[in-house]
Symmetry: C2
Subunit: 512 residues, 2 copies
């Protein structure tokens, strides 16, 4: 943490006439920590070699014929009767050489661009739950209104760098749902949206709507990364039709896939950390290979999301020591590959309590210490991903802002060392009125979003409200005060016309 | 984390007839992480040099005449009219050479011994609050019953390595209180106790009772470390009478002081991280110097506990980015000195909620990544140290156990990499019944104390209980099932006789 980050600089203004509020820059963060290790370099090399053996000798089941054809053309051994693809290491090693080591996912405004490489740090919120919850309305099947509320929160907090799948808008039919989610992401936010890979027609709808919102030709769209999607393998060793199609389509249009085997040790992965990562790494390399065979040089994220299950019940567990170890070791494998990569912060708690905060923070620290470039599910994830909690979204922001603050250099000039102030204040005195303090106090410290530091008496007088209760008010205020992003009315009109036309044509059911 | 720790080895047994419960060793942990940095080596050297200037040019106010005399004898410039002591750097530098770089604080049984050096990791719980709270009885002035409950919890959890000051037993008069707290610590636990430094008579009572409980002669007692105390300076730049007396008495009896300036940036310390640490480091070095002048070679902990205040209200804040930075930078200064050192995990929350867990975990990670040897207040601390929460004590155990698990090496043999298991399980299948899983599942994963991983339906059926509610039951069970440690009845009789005699003599009021 001793070097001034090259990308992130604290944008503190000198005090101005308005009183000098603290201004910080939480965009394009650079991870300040030395990446940690769980395994020795030799052990990591063994895992890598064994993963290559898995691809070569055991193979992947790939359900999409076009994907098998691409693998076959590259020299892989394909058994069409079993949909099995065995991929020689030379094919994998060649494919791993072609993706860019660094790329920018572009937003609707230059300050929304997110730069990715090993060493950068970005956060995505909770992605994909079927439910939403808040303490006023309780837990419910999620709706497009919940999805849009999440978009507004994402837009509001600088420490959230890109959209995620947020929630499933279950009040909309699935062949039309993606129009509404793309509409919400482009009208209420200028951050890079999330586009689901649920078959070619939905993907193309997503790209088309984003191209319109950003005012781009198709050539301009393809020339840069403008969105992301998540590609989950079906562990163990399977890539299904929409995921394989996504790996191909996103590559062909130059948009980055976030390749993420989701490996729960003891369930869909071996019960050991080393075994789970051998599988996860093999699947990630196999998926990246397909992606690069479709379009060598397409931007792509390596990824890992491994944790364990409760062996008594089979229930997924998160924030465990085993997950922290998986996160850190995944970073070692990612550095071997050299690509920006994603990991996750997660919890299995059912309510936004001490367990939820503990598990989320443990796994998030694991990802940060792993040198992860993109930490997903970092705000609002509850119940192992089955619910988005709007209050947890807000309490998690204090955690993420803290990480962002830690990315900024700490001044240590002679004036900061404060010898003169130490001389000024007598033994047993205090620094409240010292000149050194007066010059700095307005911008010295992080101001939390939710934390309440008042004493017990004051806190009790104010209603003894816990963090979740306070977070609820903040969530409501941010959502209620949100405004659509300024967008050329012609683009809005074109977007609406596109949705109307595609709806009339019958929309686009997911392909599986 | 790639090296098998030399001190901590996972004591997993092979499965036995009883079903092979997981056995772990959370004692004598070795920190697995690379210590992080906030400042460059040059900046740390500047802070160190400036701290030496503070001691030499500005000096400390030292309220105990005996302490000033010892400083004077060593060559310091003493102004008796102002109680000021200016300490030349050669005195400080000489004193810093004499304490042992490694020592063991001994318990009542060999497995309770706690070894300390740079690189080891140990936890002490909440120390010193005037209040206790649990959700059944609410917040109240703490009593000796609360103190004893804390002792039972400390004894129960292996990841707590030593006693802390726990709570103030306000139901007992202060001239007799220490007899009851020493009695509780020695009858209900064989871990190293905490002895308050509140003047020579109380200190000597504490040593005497511990000597009796451990069955030692005074020579044997002095030859090893058997307890600890905390020495807080009165920042800025003052050492009061009981603290100075403690630094001398503990040194003379070979017992380690935990030297801890408590520096809140903007209040009793400069508003900058670098300035606060300049002060904290100066005070720590000054106190260690007095300690070593009294008895060169006495074991002593370096220490730091620095955070910021809310500049709007002056309220102490914890778990902030500034505290994390202070913790990490304090580790850099501790490594310069070369002594085992203490830091803290802390929160300003008023209830055991998401804020409490977040702030505690942030500061604890800061201390862990700083390479801290002794993390205090690591379980149960609430309200910035004004209350011990019994439920938070329990929820914090899951955090501490997770850190302890991370100290253990992760196996990566060929069998752990699980190629054969990956071959056995078909694509899209699962590993629940795989031989590889069956051989390992009973001991594969950490089993949490409080975390509930059941799904929302089951959790709701069970009463929708949050972590705090579940922790309450665990706290009650542990306390209710606690048993006194086996102690030679002759020693118990001698202890009781000592207390009776000293009580009859009028006890020992604190000296200040």
């Amino acid at each position: 943490m001793n070097d001034e980050p090259k990308l992130a600089r604290r944008g503190r203004r000198p005090r101005d006439a308005a009183g000098g509020a603290r201004v910080v820059n939480y965009r394009n963060l650079r991870n300040p920590f030395t990446p940690q290790r769980v395994f020795s370099d030799d052990q990591i090399q063994s895992i890598h070699e064994t993963s290559l053996r898995v691809l070569e000798e055991l193979g992947l089941r790939v359900l999409l014929p076009e994907a098998r054809a691409r693998f076959k053309q590259a020299g892989a051994l394909v058994d069409e009767s079993a949909n099995m693809v065995r991929i020689g290491r030379e094919i994998v090693e060649r494919a791993l050489l072609t993706p860019p080591r660094a790329f920018t996912v572009r937003g609707g405004a230059p300050e929304r661009d997110a730069f990715f490489a090993l060493g950068t740090l970005a956060f995505q919120p909770c992605g994909g739950p079927p439910h939403a919850t808040d303490i006023a309305r309780g837990r419910r099947p999620a709706t497009i209104a919940d999805f849009t509320d999440a978009v507004k929160l994402i837009q509001h907090y600088d420490v959230i760098h890109m959209h995620a799948a947020n929630v499933e808008a279950q009040d909309l039919p699935i062949h039309l749902r993606h129009y509404a989610t793309m509409r919400a992401q482009t009208l209420w936010s200028d951050k890079p949206p999330f586009v689901y890979a649920r078959g070619n027609p939905q993907t193309m709808d997503g790209f088309a709507m984003l191209r319109i919102a950003r005012g781009l030709t198709w050539e301009q769209f393809k020339a840069d990364a403008w969105c992301t999607t998540v590609i989950n393998t079906n562990s163990p060793r399977q890539i299904d039709i929409p995921m394989a199609q996504g790996l191909i389509d996103f590559a062909l249009y130059g948009q980055p896939c976030v390749v993420t085997p989701f490996c729960l040790m003891g369930a869909m992965a071996p019960v050991t950390v080393a075994g789970a990562l051998t599988l996860s790494h093999a699947e990630a390399m196999g998926a990246i290979t397909l992606n690069q065979l479709a379009n060598p040089g397409a931007p792509v994220f390596y990824g890992a999301f491994a944790s364990n299950v409760d062996m008594k019940s089979g229930a997924p567990a998160f924030g465990t020591p085993e997950e922290v170890k998986c996160n850190i070791a995944s970073g070692q494998l990612a550095r071997l590959i050299g690509l920006p990569w994603r990991c996750a912060a997660a919890t299995a708690a059912n309510v936004n309590d001490a367990q939820a905060a503990h598990e989320t923070e443990m796994s998030c620290w694991g990802a940060v210490l792993a040198g992860c470039s993109l930490i997903m599910h970092a705000a609002g994830w509850l119940e192992g991903g089955l619910t988005l909690s709007f209050e947890k979204f807000i309490t998690d922001i204090d955690m993420l802002n803290t990480f962002a603050e830690l990315c900024h250099a700490t001044p240590a000039t002679d004036a900061d060392l404060a010898f003169e102030a130490l001389k000024e204040v007598q033994p047993g005195g205090h620094f409240f009125g010292a000149a050194h303090t007066m010059e700095r106090y307005q911008t010295a410290f992080y101001e939390p979003v939710v934390a309440d530091w008042s004493n017990f008496g004051t806190w009790t007088e104010r209603g003894s409200r816990d963090a979740t209760s306070r977070a609820h008010d903040i969530y409501r205020r941010v959502v209620d005060e949100a405004k659509p992003v300024p967008l050329d009315p012609a683009r809005v009109e074109e977007l609406e016309a596109y949705v109307a036309k595609r709806t009339e044509e019958g929309g686009a059911p997911p392909v599986s």
